[in-house]
Symmetry: C2
Subunit: 407 residues, 2 copies
């Protein structure tokens, strides 16, 4: 598998565009379009929050019932959440406008929104934006990058990735982009993530692949414990790679899942590392677990702990908070068998052996914890299961962003 | 029921003392003693964190097996958590010293610690402190207040309460003190809370009363979602009020439970309002619930939401975050039937009716949310059950305290 430059336009037959529709921001792009020149099979996973934004409801229906998805239109600035019947009508009007401009069916159009909750979309601005998007779309890497920028809210950088793999003797390409910075604690999937690929695959297996991958990627990150109303991951596969269509869970499928996992773990980590106000990506790997569920519970409990996150911000090897967060995770383990290591580009060091602190150098630990990507490795010595979760530190800027920003 | 001035020394036969033992702080008291001149029945609830501090393990044993509890000794500065076998031996040595100084059994001594995790107690300083405490104890209100101050860590003020009620024709008094500011998300009970009373009651009913009351008080508060390793609530009842001993769940019992509930809700709210860095106590009351469990889940989800807490800090009526936190609580309800009000000393106003925002004044909402105690009232219109939870805002100072403080 090769990682290459690009994003959602990298797979054969995909185009993208971005435009500034003045939905909320006055000085930047805020609408994006992804388009496939031929119909795609699509798969999606969505927030489990029972307060679902209108575009989530719209997309759930399309993913379930449509076999000809061909476009995704996304706006930032307003989330179209808690907007009632009018909000849903605006989703429909958005999809209809896209369909008309692109000459496709309304049921081929997926819709995404992110931003402030509770405000109605300025539907005329949306419609005008769609006309621009339809006119401007191209297959260039620059267009994909522009789309990744247009869907940002409090994100500080665009998030995209592209990889190529050989499947059944053909080169298959997968590209993706996502956004997410606050209200990130996915339960099923994260805020907005869009993956395009030219692989030929059945709709059933595409959904199966996505669901498997989401558990190891978006469902393993947290910025602030808040599960959004808008979480959406969509994958479009248009089949233009020309590989023999994947319809069984054999080698071709496994290869595709491995690549899709890499793409989505990359995107999920980008979200965690760009958490609102974050100065560091914080990775917690639990090994020696009795079961995957146990390792998942412990790793997620640690990355979610406000006290641990604040300690990471302070570059403080405050291992007691990590042990404490493990202890209230709901998982059972023996605290007196736990080993804990900190690791980053600056080195690796053991802090706890069998539940007791070693005589480690605080200075060296602080050096390790001062890097932009830091890891805690926890061995609970009960079995072979493992899990990795990603979060970020908790900083003054998180407070600043969220005490001031009406999101 | 009358609220009166005082704390743990207010009930007949109770004395207290505080001393500066230089355990961690150099400029303040850090040890407290509560003593009853006659043996007490005692009840306790403890953290469910599987990483339990040594004094929690010690007290669980005493509460279960001892019928003659007579003293509680507490230190701040070091939590005696994650300290292994040595930590437990130090608990025992502490209890033995108290027993010797006071001329009581070792099994009559309860022990509490709060502060940094992972460090061993300076046992000689503890022993020296105990000698001072034994010498200095008095039944004065001032001694109770000094004890409440000595157990503080990042708390900004001492927390105590006293009430008197008539039970069976006799005046019964209940006094309490507690501490807690960070690592507050009790699952069973909060950090450290000590209640003394002269009521005559069986041990069994004292425990039953405490367990009932803890669910409506400490288990309904959160500062940061972190369930501590040290959470402990202890009640000592020495019987000196002279009421007919309460052995049945009849009127006397109900009256006592009502008073004990008021005492513990007061103490729990004091902890929430004095959360690390907090500028406001944030109360969330859910009414119209189908069941108590549902109302509890929704109210706790809202007070725990980092985004909601940051909005409260910003005096921002960001109702979308409240609806979002309700939605991921795990409880089922219809978002389109929700009514939401904000209330404080500055007034009350409705923000949402049937899931849709009213045309309310942001200026007026900000005024209401700028008070030191603010409430959100949520009606989900499904039944008669209700629940109230208490938290605080999330501020720059929370980050400051926890990025710098090795707790």
């Amino acid at each position: 598998m090769n990682k290459i430059k690009g994003g959602v336009t990298i797979a054969k037959g995909f185009e993208a565009a971005a435009t500034a529709a003045s939905i909320k921001y006055q000085d930047r792009s805020d609408m994006a379009l992804i388009y496939s020149e031929v119909p795609c099979v699509c798969a999606g996973t969505f927030t489990k929050n029972i307060v679902k934004a209108a575009p989530v409801v719209w997309c759930q229906d399309i993913v379930k019932n449509s076999d000809n998805a061909q476009a995704i239109v996304v706006n930032s600035g307003i989330a179209n959440a808690c907007t009632g019947e009018v909000g849903y009508q605006y989703c429909q009007a958005t999809a209809e406008t896209v369909a008309e401009e692109l000459g496709i069916e309304t049921t081929a159009v997926l819709v995404g929104s992110t931003g402030v909750i509770g405000k109605q979309l300025p539907i005329n601005k949306i419609k005008a934006g769609i006309k621009e998007l339809a006119k401007d779309k191209t297959a260039s890497v620059a267009s994909g990058n522009a789309a990744a920028k247009a869907i940002m809210t409090t994100d500080t950088k665009e998030k995209e990735i592209a990889v190529e793999i050989m499947i059944g003797g053909k080169q298959v390409t997968i590209g993706g982009m996502c956004k997410g910075s606050g209200m990130i604690h996915p339960d099923m999937c994260t805020m907005l993530s869009f993956v395009t690929t030219d692989v030929a695959i059945s709709k059933e297996l595409l959904q199966k692949a996505l669901s498997a991958v989401v558990d190891d990627s978006y469902n393993m990150i947290s910025v602030d414990g808040d599960t959004s109303t808008n979480d959406t991951v969509l994958v479009l596969a248009n089949g233009l790679a020309g590989n023999g269509k994947i319809t069984k869970e054999e080698t071709d499928y496994q290869q595709f899942v491995a690549a899709l996992r890499e793409v989505n773990i990359f995107l999920a980590k980008q979200i965690a590392g760009d958490g609102e106000g974050a100065t560091a990506l914080f990775e917690v790997k639990v090994i020696g677990g009795e079961s995957k569920a146990q390792a998942v519970a412990i790793s997620k409990s640690v990355i979610t702990s406000s006290l641990t996150k604040a300690a990471i911000f302070g570059h403080d090897a405050n291992w007691g908070r990590i042990l404490c967060a493990m202890g209230y995770s709901g998982a059972t383990f023996d605290p007196e068998r736990v080993d804990l290591f900190f690791e980053s580009k600056a080195g690796k060091m053991q802090i706890i052996e069998n539940g007791v602190a070693l005589d480690y150098s605080e200075e060296q630990a602080t050096k390790i914890l001062s890097e932009p990507e830091v890891s805690a490795l926890v061995d609970i010595k009960m079995g072979d299961a493992s899990a990795t979760a990603w979060g970020c530190d908790l900083t003054y800027d998180y407070i600043k962003i969220n005490a001031d920003y009406r999101s």
